[in-house]
Symmetry: C2
Subunit: 578 residues, 2 copies
């Protein structure tokens, strides 16, 4: 994992590639690497779909090793959705295979010539880039049908659906899971459109003949790895909650505490939460013979995923996650799990971020295009997006554009990106993260739900403004570190509560790379990533005014607690401006 | 003109009004007044369609007097299109009647309750605000048919079409002309949507019993007025060019000098320019028995307007202006004047800015929705907007949103507002104005075409970067002053070239208001307006990065001169940041 594959899509006669040494990027991985490359090489004022932008795909520092739950792929660029820097990451098999093939990153760059589409094939034999216009407007599952024998059981596919190809600001980069299905997505910020703007439809990774990366100190690594796994298994969330119920275990909880944004953030509790909860989903899955406790990539010990079967017992989609259940469910007043699962499948197929899509549909409902609760109507809307109809173009441009086009004031977005499944008025730490993350509204950028609601890593009253800024700031730095290791974010539950698991993570990094980092060094890495990202955004024209929630969160009180978002602006500026 | 009419649309039981003294706003008019009120009273971070925004309608300091060409109405708010402060101004009869009725401004404010529509009626008898849901989704000409007997020959109507009512970011506030037709528009920045967000559909002004405002020093005013008119009549542009050909005299000229943005800014010269030129329009109008040399309001001595008759000799629209002929013509490759005139009529009827609309259609053409040159297709698209279809919602959200929805990189916009009819690469002074005006891309904010092309007020090579920043900076300050007087911007041609005409303007202000301003004082007024506007934008989150042109203007060369936009960023920052 000591080289960067650069594909210049503007080369004469079609895309050309070269392999560069890591050079000044040595020692970086995942988000640290994507953000460093974007920060150093992309003019902050460029157009996200123009020739100066780049798409960087990077496995983390521990990806492709035997370390548990380390299979994340970071995807970086200037975001078509936010206009700022973006790192979206995905699970699935892609990152591991890419790392084992020896690549620290793939960089798609240059100016696309004409409108031909290309596929990239990478194996131990080398790299091939081939024109393939038969791929035009294929969906992700259609690509799977076409290529699953190419990437096979040991490989992976990284692809864009129709949304990315059409340049929609809501469009993902899909990564296949352990079953070879395109169910894992670098979802947020429109990264798929940047891949589309480079004319690359699919990257096929053949893992045949590869093996795990070798640590510098195998014995120490093995020991650290064991302690790390023990830590994950012993924590109630990573060891029991997530394997049993998946992330959807949060639905009942968030509704109960009044922080579940319902019907476009009109109320904090959803009367039908139980119908779409993780508990109900597990029961339904069991009845139909579906599976839980499945990892999205090899070596995951948390195993929050699984399969969702339809009424006939046929595979419909992976175990639907909390954010998706919320975005398409409670946020739209839809209480039908089958409809939600179908929406999840369609989003994956067309290559759409479920959060952005669900919030856009919620806005269409608020505008009266269809009633809240209309699952069938929501399914039709996603088809409109995937097919690029005119209405689809509105919705597929994201929640902020949808609100603008429909003349709706109550757009729950920050930096143009839709706010996820925790109402910032009732989970104020999340409000701080939404407002101040350089990524735009993003729950994964600093998951304050931990200390606010789950009481992991501390106990900070979710309804009070006090302490939220410090909480979010520290979590954002920790997260930027974790996103650079390739570790799944869920490990933070164990890391926050168990000092010995944090030490095991540090030991994993040290023993693998032959380093002598301390816990402080690891924290410093995250801070420096955030500094790069904030500097890029500043150069792109972002100011403190962009680190704010929409005004309706301070003007409208949220039931049942009748709270508004009252974290002072000075507190917000502490997080990002000091 | 010593009071402000404030209509609180959120009052219990429906909109309520009160009349306030000018107070701290005394001495301000037009843009100086609208920008002062918005700066002081509207939180810069509010949502443009939310309860905290206000719509301010203000005649200029000399409006409603006997001074020639002084009938402009300034309309100010936080812009739904740019997110910054906005002043759009319009001719027509509205400003004069409002001033004669004694109002320095109308302010629409507060939070609309429910979705009822209201009409406001103002006469010497007083003010009435009445619910009238029969007005829902009426167009401006339909409103004219309904109300022309109400406002009559001595009155005026200020209204929004369907676009403003639907909250579209491209939507105007229409003002009736001397014939009572809704042909004059405060066009830019989506001011109509803000009026719509307040639930006010129409303001009917009855001028019966009003008379010209009285100057403090009638003799001196009469003398200054005479000198001012002489100045306008003696300058070749205001005395001959504009009356004879209207603003469309620019079409052949701009194409000739290679600064005419053709087919979405792909080239600087349009091969069919002559077919849609002012000369051709005058000839066609004469053949059909139409009129030229008509003012848009009483007392205009420039008289650049007139009527455009269709093939059957029936009124179709007013004399179509240069920007509209360009936006719907050359920018879309449409060379059919009748189609362009029809588009102008539809824009006026639905309440759409012709520049924003034409540029959005050009982008739809670039995206392949219809071919360049398709006049019939363009007409259909405007109907889609006016009727609020899904495609219409995209286009009606403005050029930037259209480009985003259609995945097009080459969006000619600054601060989200479409660039008008002078390519910034070949008329670089205009490029500086587009980039640095707090209003977003706006030719009227600092009309560098004067010195760049017309050689009025100086001679600055349009193809060179040298001297453009100073030129634009000075013009922006002068313009802000003129926009505050209520004078038509076209007077600047005479004022720039003839010191005695500038002096006459200063004398008009002094003798009317009993002041002793010097030329320097007058310039200082414009600068202070710009300072307020820039301060608002800073608080709304704008930075130097927003004072830039889209990158394609520096990356793509423009034929025939093969020039790019090369004014250095430091020069741009001189204009707005020093």
């Amino acid at each position: 994992m000591d080289k960067i594959l650069r594909i210049d899509v503007g080369a004469e006669g079609g895309p050309a590639f070269r392999e560069d040494p890591l050079g000044s990027y040595a020692g970086l991985g995942g988000r640290a690497l994507t953000s460093a490359i974007i920060h150093a090489e992309v003019p902050a004022d460029c157009h996200p779909l123009g020739p100066e932008n780049k798409l960087v795909l990077a496995p983390g520092l521990l990806t492709g090793t035997a370390a548990a739950s380390s299979g994340r792929l970071s995807v970086g660029c200037k975001s078509p959705l936010t206009g700022g820097i973006k790192e979206a990451n995905a699970g699935g098999a892609g990152a591991q295979v890419l790392a084992r093939l020896g690549y620290a990153a793939i960089v798609l760059e240059g100016e696309r010539q004409g409108d031909d589409l290309y596929k990239v094939m990478i194996s131990t034999e080398g790299v091939r880039v081939e024109k393939d216009n038969e791929l035009k407007l294929l969906t992700n599952y259609q690509l799977m049908d076409r290529f699953s024998t190419v990437y096979g059981k040991k490989g992976a596919m990284i692809s864009i659906g129709t949304a990315g190809e059409m340049g929609l600001a809501n469009s993902t980069v899909a990564v296949t899971d352990m079953e070879g299905r395109p169910t894992r997505h670098a979802g947020r910020g429109g990264v798929g459109a940047v891949m589309g703007s480079k004319g690359i439809k699919v990257i096929l990774l053949d893992g045949t003949g590869t093996r795990n990366r070798e640590p510098k100190d195998p014995e120490a690594f093995k020991d650290a790895s064991k302690r790390f796994v023990e830590g994950l298994r012993s924590h109630p969330i990573t060891g029991q909650g997530l394997p049993t119920y998946g992330t959807n275990s949060l639905t009942n909880l968030l509704s109960e505490v009044g922080g579940y944004p319902t019907r476009n953030f009109r109320q904090g509790r959803y009367e039908d939460a139980d119908k779409i909860s993780g508990e109900s989903q597990v029961e339904l899955t069991a009845q139909r013979g579906g599976k839980g406790r499945r990892g999205c990539h090899r070596g995951c010990v948390i195993q929050c995923s699984g399969t969702y079967l339809d009424k006939n017992g046929q595979y419909l989609t992976k175990r639907v996650q909390y954010e998706t259940v919320w975005a398409h469910g409670g946020n739209c007043g839809i209480s039908d799990l089958d409809a939600i699962a179908q929406l999840d499948h369609l989003d994956d197929d067309y290559g759409l971020d479920t959060i952005e899509m669900g919030v856009a549909i919620g806005l269409a409902m608020e505008a009266g295009l269809l009633p809240f609760g209309d699952g069938k109507g929501a399914v039709e809307l996603v088809h409109e997006v995937g097919k690029g109809t005119r209405l689809g173009r509105i919705l597929g441009s994201g929640a902020a554009s949808t609100a603008k086009a429909l003349g709706i004031e109550r757009a729950p977005v920050v930096k143009g990106q839709a706010i996820p499944a925790y109402d910032p008025r009732a989970v104020k730490g999340m409000g701080v993260t939404y407002a101040t993350s350089p990524q735009g509204a993003d729950h994964t950028a600093g998951y304050a739900v931990a200390a606010n609601i789950l009481k992991v890593g501390g106990d900070v009253d979710p309804l009070s403004a006090a302490g939220q800024a410090e909480l979010s700031r520290d979590l954002q730095a920790l997260t930027a570190t974790v996103d650079s290791t390739g570790m799944c974010l869920f490990i933070v539950f164990a890391v926050l509560d168990q000092p010995e698991t944090l030490q095991a993570l540090v030991d994993l990094l040290n023993s693998f790379h032959g380093l002598t980092l301390t816990g402080d060094d690891v924290a410093a890495l995250g801070k420096s990533v955030l500094e790069d990202e904030r500097d890029f955004n500043r150069r792109a024209g972002f100011t403190a005014e962009d680190d704010r929630l929409p005004s309706f969160f301070r003007m409208e009180k949220l039931a049942p607690h009748d709270v508004d978002f009252d974290v002072p602006e000075e507190e917000l500026d502490k997080v990002s401006r000091e």
